[in-house]
């Protein structure tokens, strides 16, 4: 099996879905002639024409509303929001329309809408262009939220999202686009709402998603070699619905958990997962659940300050060293 970048995996999936289903079409800012700010849609306008790949004005509320209407009438739109920071004007269309219409109107029309959008900091794009706003959407019933960390999952989850009849927020990450990984088999599907144990371990569990899941896997492999710590990594992949069974099984095995997320800590994904664990696995917990997240300030532009603000492997390693059980820590 060959290797493929996260970007290529997304591109291939879009192309395949455009070929497979005539109802699938793409819309967003600069996705046609300019081939996308991050080149995910490179070449697609040329191959599928302006009816299938639609360049829109810079009006997020307008084109998200348009896509919602198209979905109501049976099309399967895939919207690209250039970065998640620009999704803010479209919140009404997403939260009050796309998420509600199926339930509020007697199930007359499903909304098979996908909104792809990258989040994440670390590119020196400053406070308004580096955010991780996935929690807003994971909070809303009627939406599904996925956040793959590998090219294979990106492909498998995007394909499932396109074929799902509910609005899906498909979270990408700027720093993941060039990451390479195993190319999945053709027509690879990853079910929504299914977490994955990306590394087995015995001493503690790190639960994460998106780019931090990749960082966590790296850290876990390294610590296993260097410190002999056996760390289990769970990539939840879907934030809504959240796969309780997999994270519970892992924590029941290791008895200690860290939730590692790039977004802010308060009211975050970690808060939700920690609450779930204490509700459903209280008697299996040997320590309070740790949350490792970014500092709660508007992200500075300055590189040193940006580095100091965002969470990363250093913060995770510190947390692991604090949380690892004493009897396992000593064995070198």
């Amino acid at each position: 099996m060959g290797e493929i970048t996260y970007r290529q995996a997304l591109h291939d999936c879009l192309r395949e879905e455009l070929v497979r289903d005539d109802n699938v079409f793409l819309l967003g800012e600069e996705i046609g002639n300019f081939e996308g700010s991050y080149k995910i849609t490179a070449g697609l306008l040329k191959d599928f024409g302006p009816k299938r790949v639609v360049d829109t004005p810079i009006v997020e509320n307008g084109f998200v509303g348009m896509a919602t209407g198209a979905a109501m009438l049976g099309l399967r739109p895939i919207v690209e929001i250039m970065t998640i920071n620009f999704i803010v004007p479209a919140m009404d269309q997403i939260v009050n329309h796309a998420a509600k219409i199926y339930a509020m109107f007697g199930g007359q029309c499903p909304i098979p809408l996908v909104i792809r959008t990258p989040g994440g900091g670390g590119q020196q794009l400053a406070a308004t262009h580096s955010q991780n706003l996935e929690v807003w959407f994971a909070h809303v019933p009627g939406l599904k939220v996925v956040a793959p960390s590998t090219p294979a999952d990106a492909k498998g989850l995007l394909r499932t999202s396109v074929r799902d009849n509910n609005p899906v927020i498909f979270l990408e990450n700027l720093a993941l686009y060039n990451v390479k990984g195993e190319e999945p088999p053709a027509d690879y599907l990853v079910p929504l709402g299914q977490a994955k144990v990306t590394k087995e371990g015995a001493d503690l569990t790190v639960i994460s998603y998106s780019r931090m899941a990749a960082v966590a896997l790296n850290v876990a492999r390294r610590l296993e070699q260097e410190n002999n710590l056996s760390i289990e990594v769970v990539d939840v992949r879907s934030l809504r619905p959240l796969d309780h069974a997999t994270i519970l099984a892992s924590v029941k095995k290791t008895n200690r958990a860290i939730v590692f997320e790039e977004d802010w800590r308060s009211y975050g994904i970690g808060a939700e997962i920690a609450a779930t664990l204490q509700e459903e696995a209280f008697d299996d917990l040997d320590a309070p659940i740790k949350r490792v997240a970014s500092l709660e300030v508007p992200l500075p532009y300055s590189k040193p300050l940006e580095l100091a603000t965002l969470t990363g492997s250093k913060q995770l390693i510190e947390a692991i060293n604090e949380l690892a059980p004493r009897r396992r820590r000593g064995k070198q």
Partner: protein, 435 residues
């Protein structure tokens, strides 16, 4: 209602056997009543009631062995019994649960229950609250992770006895695992009694043979003696001691005692002589521990006693500093306690050297097995009247044969021979023993 748990009666006690119940179900219990006799690996002791009530249920039958902290009986207030029946099953599944522990702390559980009928729902609620705020004996809350609590409950571990090493002293899984590891490493932990020494009993016992179950003390003796003989390289040095003068002195000592006085025995004098010799040869008063030579600062001499329940070795503490009359008085008391199996763990702990005396049973010579972790034991045989040459003439003297068994890892033949010479010197000049 409260539970009576198996108490920890000595530092090393891990479990205990109910030897005999002195109260039966339905009996009124007053505070301080003796409920049962408990047999530990060291001694038989009383289980005392700390609160009044009615003995409601016996949870552990005579002869059964349970770990420290496990409930052995329930005491309830006679009036509240029926009303509390509902909650009984819930609490029965929670040995030594926190509710009872906190009850012990306040000592008020024996009072009339304020709510005589509780619904099972209320009861369940109370259970979970109390397990969350478990308290130790001093009434201080015990901090433990939920997992550690669950493990402790499953493994019958008393959390108040566990040292927490988590943040802020929280008891975590690591600490419970430490306890479990210690349990499996310590000699007498398993629910199944340790196997008696492997005497090659290849064929099954014949049908007409009587099978006598060993008591816990006998099992312990069997195991420790096997361990001693298998792990300690014993060697033996003998000597003969002329006891003629000592016997004369002892007679004089005891002659005008009257009724209250305690007679000094030959063994008391030998014990004292050994204690004095140990002062001079401190290497004999020691142990081998891993890579250390442990030299004890105190001289505690044990004396082997053939008690009905098996061999016991109570200890005369600081025997080198005590007069022979004190030793005689203490020895007499210890022997009396041993005869009725009432020696306390404190009577048996801390010996640094032992004396085993079969002289009164006419044994002419024998060798003893070292009592670990001690380094040596002196076997004392009978004193016999023998002709010995004095100035070329046969003279009748009282001769006593002694044999020392010593741990060759830390003691040399020369040291042991010198030690015996010293004992001999002291006993043959008996007034020096009185000093």
């Amino acid at each position: 209602m409260s539970e009576i748990t198996m108490p920890r009666l000595s530092d090393t006690m891990q479990e205990g056997t109910i030897a005999r119940w002195l109260k039966k179900t339905g009996d009124e219990i007053k505070k301080g009543d003796i409920l049962a006799e408990i047999e530990t690996d060291k001694a038989t002791m009383d289980l005392e009631a700390y609160e009044a009530g009615t003995l409601q249920q016996v949870l552990v039958q005579e002869g059964e062995t349970v770990p420290v902290g496990q409930a052995v009986a329930r005491i309830g207030n006679g009036a509240g019994d029926k009303g509390e029946g509902v909650g009984e099953t819930t609490s029965a599944q929670q040995p030594a649960s926190a509710a009872e522990t906190s009850g012990d702390g306040t000592g008020a559980t024996g009072a009339v229950p304020t709510v005589s009928v509780r619904t099972s729902e209320q009861d369940a609620g109370q259970q979970s609250t109390s397990s969350y705020t478990a308290q130790n004996g001093s009434g201080k809350a015990i901090k433990a992770s939920p997992l550690a609590r669950r493990m402790a409950e499953e493994q019958n571990i008393d959390l108040s006895q566990v040292q927490g090493t988590g943040p802020g002293g929280r008891i975590v899984r690591d600490d419970i695992e430490d306890v479990l590891e210690q349990r499996s490493a310590s000699p007498a932990p398993a629910p199944t009694p340790p196997a008696p020494p492997q005497t090659a009993l290849v064929s099954p016992a014949p049908a007409d043979a009587e099978l006598v179950k060993l008591s816990r003390v006998q099992l312990l003796i069997a195991r420790r003696l096997t361990e001693s003989k298998q792990t300690i390289p014993h060697f033996y040095v003998s000597n003969e001691i002329d006891m003629t003068d000592l016997l004369a002195m002892r007679q004089a000592l005891n002659a005008n005692l009257g009724d209250e006085g305690v007679k000094v025995t030959v063994n008391d004098l030998i014990m004292k002589a050994c204690a004095l010799a140990l002062e001079k040869y401190p290497e004999v008063n020691s142990s081998l521990k891993d890579d250390h030579f442990v030299r004890y600062s105190h001289i505690h001499v044990g004396m082997a006693i053939d008690a009905p329940n098996g061999l016991v070795v109570p200890v005369i503490r600081d025997a080198n500093t005590k007069g022979v009359r004190s030793i005689a008085r203490e020895a007499k008391a210890l022997i009396a306690k041993a005869r009725i199996n009432r020696l306390a763990p404190a009577d048996l702990e801390g010996g640094t050297f032992s004396v085993s005396n079969l002289g009164m049973m006419d044994a002419t010579h024998f060798i003893a097995v070292i009592n670990p972790p001690q380094a040596a034991i002196l076997a004392v045989a009978a004193t016999r009247k023998l002709f010995v040459p004095v100035d070329g003439q046969p003279v009748i003297r009282d001769l006593m044969s002694v044999t020392m068994s010593a741990d060759h890892r830390i003691l040399s033949g020369a040291t042991v021979a010198h030690f015996l010479q010293e004992v001999k010197q002291l006993l043959q000049n008996p007034y020096s023993v009185l000093g």
